[in-house]
């Protein structure tokens, strides 16, 4: 399974890419495989500032509903609107076209973010 080196990961299976104070966030390849076909991504927190570990949205697969957790603290400045009509992008391209939100970072990065190697070990893949 693919876990890009340049990303950080959480135990809840989100990934985060940090560039110039902006974090882009999605769910991992492992997460999308476990969930199966993603049929709905709901994020209604754009404009809100949310702490690391808090829920920022919901992802629904055919059989399951899962909360999405903030890997970092910051203001949600953008939701990937493409997911409204094409939630399957999360399955097809979890790290690129299937990104979920962009966050303007505030505060320090949490210390418990995982490297690709650590996350890979966590999920045993």
């Amino acid at each position: 399974m693919n876990f890009p080196e340049e990303l950080k990961y959480t135990k809840d299976h989100e990934w985060v890419r940090i560039e110039n104070g902006i974090a882009t966030i999605g769910i991992t390849e492992f997460a999308q495989r476990e969930l199966g076909d993603i049929v709905y991504v709901e994020v209604e927190t754009v404009g809100e500032t949310i702490s690391a570990g808090e829920v920022f949205g919901t992802v629904e697969a055919v059989k399951t509903v899962s909360d999405l957790f903030m890997p970092v603290e910051g203001e949600i400045i953008e939701f990937n609107e493409e997911l409204e009509s094409s939630p399957e992008l999360v399955n097809d391209s979890p790290y690129k076209d299937g990104w979920m939100i962009k966050v303007k970072l505030s505060g320090d990065l949490p210390e418990d973010l995982l490297t690709a190697a650590e996350y890979s070990e966590l999920v045993g893949a």
Partner: protein, 364 residues
């Protein structure tokens, strides 16, 4: 004590096929091979095979066989001919349902009951408890494998495996014959998908041979293995009940829309109560519904009216792969049970508009 998870006969084959396996009803079962949605469409449009060997099978035989079945089931088995099957349920003594099942008439005094995997032990104890008339009972669940070959191309895909003319097996009828070189295979015109097809009952020792033959014969029809994930979306599009979700020990068969398998021309367990309930009328009813707004209903979400008052509860829900909208089943107050009635489903504190829809929810 940790409960032992049972393996079905072809467990290793499913793992080798890349299935995601998960515990279901005490068995390690294939949930998905590739994608729930793709597998769903394969069954709706082509042909796919479910390994549902977790299901339970009881043989009821002897001169008292019919009498016992008439006593413990709600449907009227007395009009079954040999080679015919019927959907039925075991009513409990308190107005609910012990399980739903299929009754097969195998011979003059020989019947097979096919029950849900999650209820095998409970059902077995239940019918034994009520067998005070001396019918012979045998639980053969652990020796039988069951493959559901479902979809519009099912008959074409497997016809070459049997001399039995599959197009002559009518819905809820079956034939016992040679299949894939194996004798005494039950080929049943039943299923849980609404897509047509057959359910094939074989002994465990013949399971691999039969499974492989089905895939070899079906290759030119692009036959695929299908997981339990797609089984659930397929049955829900048809509005078929799932025990544990839509029916249980508390739900009346009349409330569940199973009046058509509840026959009062005979006595059965709790028939007096159910007959009175029928005469006096029910207060709530299981209905199918569609969401008109974007969202997905799930079990236990509240159903409310325009004023936000709770009028019922969702028992099963999903995104319909065939229609691309949220669909579900749920109990509502009788006043809201008519097809076309506007209802709302509370999804994460928002009331999404939907409407009661006549079953099946997916119309071909």
């Amino acid at each position: 004590m940790i409960e032992q998870i049972k393996k079905i006969q072809l467990n290793d084959k499913h793992v080798a096929l890349g299935a995601k396996m998960a515990p279901f009803a005490g068995f390690n079962m294939p949930v998905r091979y590739s994608s729930d949605i793709e597998e769903h469409q394969t069954v709706r449009e082509g042909v796919g095979v479910f390994d549902v060997s977790h299901m339970g099978e009881f043989m009821v035989t002897g001169p008292k066989a019919l009498e016992l079945i008439q006593k413990v089931t709600s449907n009227d088995a007395s009009n079954l001919v040999v080679g015919q099957a019927q959907y039925s349920c075991f009513p409990n003594e308190t107005g609910g349902i012990v399980d739903d099942l299929i009754v097969y008439r195998m011979g003059d005094e020989e019947y097979m009951l096919v029950v849900n995997a999650s209820n095998i032990e409970k059902d077995w104890n239940w019918i034994n408890k009520h067998n005070d008339i001396g019918a012979k009972l045998e639980n053969i669940s652990d020796s039988i494998s069951l493959f559901a070959v479902q979809g519009p191309l099912a008959a074409k895909a497997i016809q070459s495996l049997t001399p039995t003319n599959l197009s002559e097996i009518k819905f809820y009828h079956f034939s016992i014959g040679k299949f894939a070189g194996v004798e005494n295979v039950i080929i049943s015109g039943t299923g849980y998908t609404g897509a047509g097809g057959f359910e094939i009952y074989v002994r465990n020792e013949d399971a691999e041979k039969v499974w492989d033959a089905i895939f070899e014969a079906g290759k030119q029809f692009n036959i695929k293995p299908i997981g339990l994930g797609a089984r659930d979306t397929l049955r829900l599009e048809m509005g078929y009940c799932l025990y544990g979700n839509d029916i249980n020990e508390e739900t009346s068969p009349l409330e569940a829309g199973l009046g058509w398998i509840t026959k009062f021309n005979k006595d059965f367990i709790n028939s007096k109560f159910l007959k009175r309930q029928k005469e006096e009328g029910i207060n709530k009813k299981l209905v199918g519904f569609l969401l008109e707004e974007k969202g997905i209903p799930r079990a236990h979400y509240p159903i409310v009216n325009q004023n936000g008052q709770i009028i019922g509860e969702v028992t099963s829900g999903t995104m319909s792969p065939s229609m691309g909208i949220g669909i579900g089943l749920g109990y509502v107050n009788l006043d809201y049970s008519k097809p076309g009635t506007e209802i709302f489903i509370t999804v994460r504190n928002k009331n999404l508009k939907g409407r009661v829809e006549k079953l099946p929810l997916f119309k071909k």
